[in-house]
Structures are given as C-alpha cells and as structure tokens.
C-alpha cells in the first residue's frame, strides 16, 4: 500500500514537474476539489498589481476616504514593517518577491464548510519548490505533518496559524479551520476529482475568451443558483473588459430571445444611463399564461390580466396589442436641459401594424388624465391636472402635467416634469419631461448626436448583432442624477444597501462609463461589460 502511494505521488509530481519544464503551468482548476464552491484565479498577480498601481484609477482611488482611512490606520504601519521583515529574511526586494511568489498563476479556492458565509479557503500559487521552502523557512515555519511524501509546514504566531505545503511547483497556503489543505492535496497530489474536469465548470468557463487575467467561478449564481463565471481582461489606459457566462438550463430563452437593437441610435447623447432590450410581448404573455395555468384561480387571474392590459389600449384586441410592439424597447435617464430636471425616457418599437395600438394608448392616457383631473377638482384639496397637445417636428405630443402630485415624489424637479407621450412611425415614446422627449424625437429622426454615435466615437462596442440587452452607465457624468433617480425609483433602502456594498458614490465618481451586453442562448447566458475609469 505504502509503495503504491509512493509510486502514485511520484508519478503525479513527475507529471507536474514535466508540465512545468515544458512551460505549461498547472491549471489551478485541476488542482482543487470538484466540490469547490468558488475559485478565483489570477494570471500574474504581481504584474496586475503593478499595472493597477500605475493606473489613473489607482491614483483617483488614493483620494477616496476609504483609502485615506486605510493608510491612516494603526495596522498599516505594522503591516509595512512585517513585510519589510520578511523581505529581509528572504533577502529579496519587494518586486522580486512579488514576481517569484505571485508572478505566475495563483488561485483562491473556497470549499464548503457547512456555513455558506464562512467557507474554507486555500490559496495556491505557482512557485518553485526551492522558493516555496525558502518562504516557509523565512516565515519561521516548521514541518509538522506529511501528506504522503509532501511536507506540511506550520507557521504559528500567537493565535494565528498558517499551514502550507508545496509540490510540483505550486505552493498551497491556508489558515486551517479543518482539513481544507488536505482536501486540496488530495487533488493536487493524490489525483482526486478536480473541479477542472467537471462538466458544469467547463460549461461556465469553457466559452470565455482566452487571455483573461482574473477569472472567478461560483457554483451557485443567481438568479437560478446555477454555475457561472466572470473573466476580466485589463486593456490598459484605464479600460477593463469583462465577460461572463451563467449556465441557464435548456429552453430558458423565451422572452429574452436576442434581437437587433436600434434604440441606442435613437437615444440622445445626453443619456447618463440607458438600456436597450429585446421585447417580445407575445413570448411574455405566453409565459404569464403558462405560470397561471398551474394555479387553481389561474383562469380568473388571466382574465383580470387581459382586462388590465386592454384597459391601456382602448378599442384594441389582445392580439392587436401583442402584435403591435417589439422586438425591442429602450429606456434612458437624460441629463436635464439648461439646468432643468433630468428626465426618464422609455421607447417601444412598433411593428408594421403597431401605430393604431400606440395611438390608442396615447388617447387612452389622455382620457384617463382628463377623468382624474375632473375627479381631482372635487376633492377637498383639488389635484390640478393639466392636459395639452403640442406639435414638435411633425409629431403630436401629449403632455400631462400634475405638479401637485409630482412634487410629492420628485420634489423640486416637479416644475419641469410632465408625462409626455409621442408616437412616430417606428416608436411609442413616453417620457417624464417634454424636453427629454423632444431631444429623443430629434435623435430618432437623425438629428443630433446619438448615444450609439458617442459610444462608437469613444471606441466602445455598440452591437449590430442580435443581443438580449445592451446598456450603458456614465457614472462620473451623472453620479448625482443616477443616485437621486435610483432612490426615487428603487427606494432609499436599496440605494443605501448598494452604497453599503461598495462605497458607491465614491466608486461611481471613478468610473467614466460602464457598458454591458447580454445574449441569451439555449443553455447559457453570455455577458460582456466594459469599464472605462476616469482619465
């Protein structure tokens, strides 16, 4: 038995050494257990760090409150001393040490511990066995155990214990809470089932383009708690490209069927946040029907839903309404014109037979507003609703103003705000400010700079191929607008939560623009994002 172990260990180490000699660094996913909950891999972390330190993003980050607090903290100086002490023992400069220990592939694997909030973690990094031993000795480590023929070292200082092992040019390091290091050694040395050979891992990462510098995999990704992965590709000049894959399961496309999106070419450049999406009303309605079919009161609910939808389109049949719109829609948050309130604009593409339904919506809205206005006059505190039609660029716009109501929601912005509806040959446009709708009408007619033009000029990708969604955020230009609107639309609690997550306001100021794109396929959701930080 012992001899068999020896042969297996020797063979595994020899293979690893051969691969290393051949210039093929070990794939970290092949060294960690198949049951890993997450794996974060980094290619040349030392180089990545160097690039980050030289970036304008880092320079801007240094000016944030979070960075100032970090550097002013008591522990910061101690940590610097600790680092200098170890470098002295290693007899290395900092850059050389980083290159030797973090210059290759490294990874952090999370293993299930029974508590999803506190998984076990093991850090793996490429390092020659000689360098690894040098580190273990310099850190004051002592050999305390063996896994087959691999020594396990322990560094103990007060209540802080590290264990490390190295084999085949990979250093494994952990702060042990259980047998996590042995679980990794079981795979790295013992040849146990590895994450890299699992089908769900391959499905999540296999399609990601080569050349990533950071890749993160998780076995349970929302919304379906399915495997997913994100890869980062720093581009230089403060640009980062990201790609992700979320395993979605078969026949999940439905309403998310990709379409060619023309919305970005119709939205004005004044958009600080915009999204264009595929929109398939018939598929959505089918999904609603399928969901309600399983319920005892499904038929009744379906009838109510049908009445609700038709109520917005007086005189139109359900079939007419479903056939009138699609296959795309778009929405944007526009900067205010001449110091005015920012405006939301939504637009839905009309099909060839869509105009009657769109006009029905506009006329129906006018009628509802008129009725509400009349009823409002009879209240103790009358709610004035002003209704008017305005001609602009050959298009009749319906403008509904209710400053009293709007003031409750939008505060000072209420003066500039009015629900505005316009129908063109191709679009039903609904906006919260007449100015925003006018600007959109101009852009859709080919006048003025569109969002798509501005993004192309900035070197960004605007899809011409079918996609499920495409969006852009320009946080640095409209951080205040985005946050204020987000608070009004999503509720203060959500925005506070987002702020808690990542000092949002500061980080938003560091990002010039963020673009993302989603494309649903039969079994996987493909996504990309591009971040341009401040220059």
């Amino acid at each position: 038995m012992r001899r068999t172990r020896f042969y297996v260990t020797t063979a595994v180490l020899a293979l690893a050494a051969t691969a290393s000699l051949a210039g093929e660094a070990p794939r970290m996913a092949d060294l960690v257990p198949a049951r890993a909950a997450a794996l974060v891999e980094v290619e040349n972390a030392a180089g990545l760090r160097q690039a980050l330190l030289a970036s304008p993003f880092w320079e801007a980050l240094q000016k944030t409150e979070a960075a100032s607090r970090w550097k002013a903290g008591e522990q910061y100086a101690e940590r610097q001393e600790r680092l200098e002490a170890l470098l002295g023992r290693l007899n290395m400069e900092k850059d050389e040490a980083l290159r030797r220990y973090l210059g290759g592939k490294c990874a952090l694997v999370l293993l299930p511990s029974g508590d999803s909030k506190k998984p076990y973690g093991v850090f793996l990094t490429e390092a020659t066995n000689a360098d690894a031993q040098r580190l273990a000795e310099a850190a004051g480590g002592q050999e305390v155990d063996r896994y087959r023929d691999v020594a396990i070292w322990e560094v103990r200082k007060e209540n802080h214990v590290d264990r490390l092992a190295f084999a085949g040019g990979v250093l494994m390091l952990t702060r042990p809470r259980a047998d996590e290091l042995h679980q990794v050694l079981d795979v790295a040395v013992g040849g146990g089932a590895a994450l890299g050979t699992e089908g769900h891992f391959a499905k999540a990462v296999g399609d990601l383009p080569r050349g990533w510098r950071v890749r993160a995999y998780a076995d349970k990704t929302p919304p379906r708690q399915s495997p997913g992965a994100v890869a980062l590709y720093p581009q230089g000049d403060g640009r980062v490209h990201a790609e992700w894959r979320i395993v979605s399961g078969p026949s999940a496309v439905g309403p998310n069927r990709p379409a060619r999106l023309t919305g970005p070419a119709c939205l004005p450049d004044s958009a600080v946040a915009a999204v264009a999406t595929c929109f398939h009303p018939e598929a959505i309605w089918q999904q609603v029907q399928a969901k309600l079919a399983d319920r005892a009161d499904g038929e009744q609910r379906l009838a109510k839903a049908r009445m609700f939808v038709r109520g917005w389109f007086p005189g139109q049949s359900m079939e007419n309404i479903l056939a009138a719109f699609g296959p795309e829609a778009a929405a944007a948050l526009l900067k205010g014109e001449d110091g005015g309130a920012p405006g939301l604009v939504g637009m839905v593409r009309l099909t060839a037979q869509g105009r009657p339904a769109a006009h029905a919506f506009k006329d129906g809205l006018a009628a509802k507003a008129a009725i509400l206005g009349a009823l409002g006059q009879k209240r103790d505190k009358p709610i004035p609703v002003n209704l008017r039609e305005e001609e602009y660029a050959g298009v009749s716009m319906l403008v509904i103003e209710a400053p009293g109501v709007m003031k409750k929601i939008l505060g000072d912005w209420a003066e500039d705000v009015a629900l505005t509806v316009a129908v063109t040959d191709d679009w039903l446009i609904v906006g919260t400010t007449p100015a925003g709708v006018k600007r959109t009408l101009d852009t859709a007619a080919g006048s003025g700079t569109s969002l798509a033009d501005a993004m192309k000029t900035a070197g960004e990708h605007v899809p011409t191929e079918p996609v499920t969604r495409w969006g852009v955020l320009r946080p640095a230009e409209g951080a205040d607008v985005v946050l204020a609107w987000s608070e009004k639309l999503l509720g203060r609690e959500r925005v506070e939560r987002a702020k808690q997550m990542a000092n949002l306001a500061e980080l938003m100021g560091l990002a010039k623009r963020v673009l993302w794109q989603r494309t649903d396929e039969a079994e996987v959701i493909r996504g990309t994002a591009d971040v341009q930080v401040v220059e």
Binding site: A66, A67, P222, R497
Partner: protein
C-alpha cells in the same frame, strides 16, 4: 587506601630474560636486543584510566561543538504568517465587500417602474454576485481573526 602499582622497566626485563632462557636456543646478543625492545616499549596504561581519558576528550569536544553551535546557530526568527502578509498586499480591497449579510429587501419600493428595472438588474445580478464573492473570498484565508486549526490531518480525516 593503597596506591596503584606501576611496573618499572626493570620489573619487566628480568622476568622476561628468565623466561626466554627456558625456550629455544637464541644467541645472547639477539636475546638481549629482543628483551630491550619489548621492555623499552611504552607501558600501556591500565584499562579504566584509558577509557576515562577518552571520555574527557570526547566530552570536551562535544562541549566545544555545542558552544560553537550555539554561538553560530541563527536565532529562530519571529514567525511571520504568510497569510497575513498576502492579506496586507490586498490592502483595503476585501473590506470593500459587505461584512454583514445584506438586509432583507423591503417590500416598500419607489415607483412601479422598479419591476422593469428588476429585469435589467437580472443581467448584472449574476456576474455581480460572482464578483462580490471573489472580492470577499480573501477573507477565508487572509482575515485577521484568530484561527483555530484542527489537529494535523484534520478533525475527521480519513486515511487515503
């Protein structure tokens, strides 16, 4: 207490001359030369005394070696846990992620448009969850909390 007896050269020579005289015929000058050679050889010390001398030499050598070893042996360095160092290199990054679980989502929202925005949120919910997990991941290894390691080999380690 009697003093130990140390034989002299003449003590040895005379009995040997007598004994040789009883053996084979040997010329007188050759016999004398032989006896002189034997008797003139260094007298071996008693066995106990020789052993004690070797012990003292060995002990002295060992002591010297220990003194030299202790003098030259590098002092054991103050341990520096590598995980703490790597945690230092990450800087404030892990602290950007929330340390407490996110509060339960309130049912109270702003305008009904949040339903539409939820659809957009779905695009980024998955990848952001992965990124947040990746940012939080270093805490599993590089945190500053005291670690309580299991015995070598793990608590419920099974033999392979």
């Amino acid at each position: 207490m009697t003093r130990p007896y140390d034989p002299t050269e003449s003590d040895l020579r005379d009995p040997m001359l007598e004994r040789l005289g009883e053996g084979a015929e040997v010329p007188a000058d050759r016999r004398r030369a032989l006896v002189d050679a034997i008797a003139g050889a260094p007298t071996p010390l008693p066995r106990r005394r020789r052993r004690r001398g070797v012990w003292w030499i060995a002990a002295a050598a060992a002591a010297a070696a220990v003194v030299v070893g202790v003098a030259l042996w590098p002092a054991r360095p103050d341990p520096i846990p590598p995980t703490a160092l790597l945690g230092d290199l990450l800087g404030p990054l892990p602290n950007l992620a929330p340390s407490e679980p996110a509060p339960a989502e309130s049912e109270q929202r702003g305008l009904p448009t949040s339903g539409a925005l939820d659809a957009v949120w779905q695009d980024l919910e998955g990848p952001l969850a992965i990124v947040v997990q990746a940012v939080e991941a270093p805490r599993a290894v590089f945190n500053e909390e005291p670690s309580a390691p299991a015995p070598a080999g793990g608590p419920d380690r099974k033999e392979n």
